[in-house]
């Protein structure tokens, strides 16, 4: 699928790009994204103009009086966009967040599914 991943000029100035799996079956398009540290109320999933956007806010680092002595897990907001192919229903997007992983499912438009054309014998 070409031109699927899209980065918008509307993206925040600084953000982390979450790791995303994208797969497609005959019924739906599924995106699985790692967004550890994001609570359900801090996750936004929107579709506008055929572009799926998901972003999540992560609470800031350690409280006052604590010192970070070793840091690998950088804190910041997540942001990623994908242009949805036309054969998927942008108004039927479903998102579930569990254990820091968001799963987004977009059903395929029935009209775009392959169908067998009955052949009439004459």
């Amino acid at each position: 699928m070409t031109g699927f991943d899209k980065q918008s000029p509307a993206a925040p100035p600084r953000y982390f790009l979450p790791a995303v799996d994208v797969s497609e079956s005959k019924d739906e398009l599924v995106l699985v994204a790692d967004m550890p540290g994001v609570a359900p109320e801090a996750l936004d999933v929107t579709v506008e103009g055929g572009v799926l956007t998901f972003s999540g806010r992560v609470a800031p680092g350690p409280e006052r009086g604590l010192e970070t002595v070793h840091q690998e897990f950088l804190k910041g907001d997540y942001f990623r966009q994908f242009r949805l192919p036309r054969e998927f229903l942008a108004d039927k997007v479903e998102a579930v967040l569990k254990a820091g992983v968001v799963t987004i499912r977009i059903p395929r438009d029935e009209r775009s599914k392959p169908r067998r054309i009955p052949v009439r014998a004459e």
């Binding site: 799996d21 790692d34 550890p36 994001v38 609570a39 897990f73 254990a99």
Partner: protein, 147 residues
Amino acid sequence: MRRGSGKSNEEMWKLAQRMNRLMEDWMHARFRGSGDEGWVPAIDIIECAAKLQIIADLAGLKADDVAVVWTTKTLTLSGTRTLQPLDQQVQVHQLEVARGSFCRMVELPAQVDPRTAKIFYHAGILTIVVAKEKPAKKIAPPAGPTG
């Protein structure tokens, strides 16, 4: 009494941790494709006067899926992240999400008492809070007879 530079020791410790991390990344990259699709979770260590807080990015797991092994100076986290298997009818466009087994050992900046460890898992982040071991109290020798 001459004291070592605390700042210098801390920098050396951070450098050693970075080297360990690079080695682990290299080892995992080296053996990737040999059947073991291992990954390396990111870990933060935060310190206050009495405690250490260890934070690990372990999205997609449950607290019970993670084995935690302590020594007084090291912590090892290991487990396996399994994602829903993909149907053969599924067409995959991209696979970026880490999966498979992981095993990560970190050296702690202070000795800890593992019996005090409390483990929390929320929103894909494992947080462990553990008390630092208290230094043994020096017992002053009994005063000798005077006079």
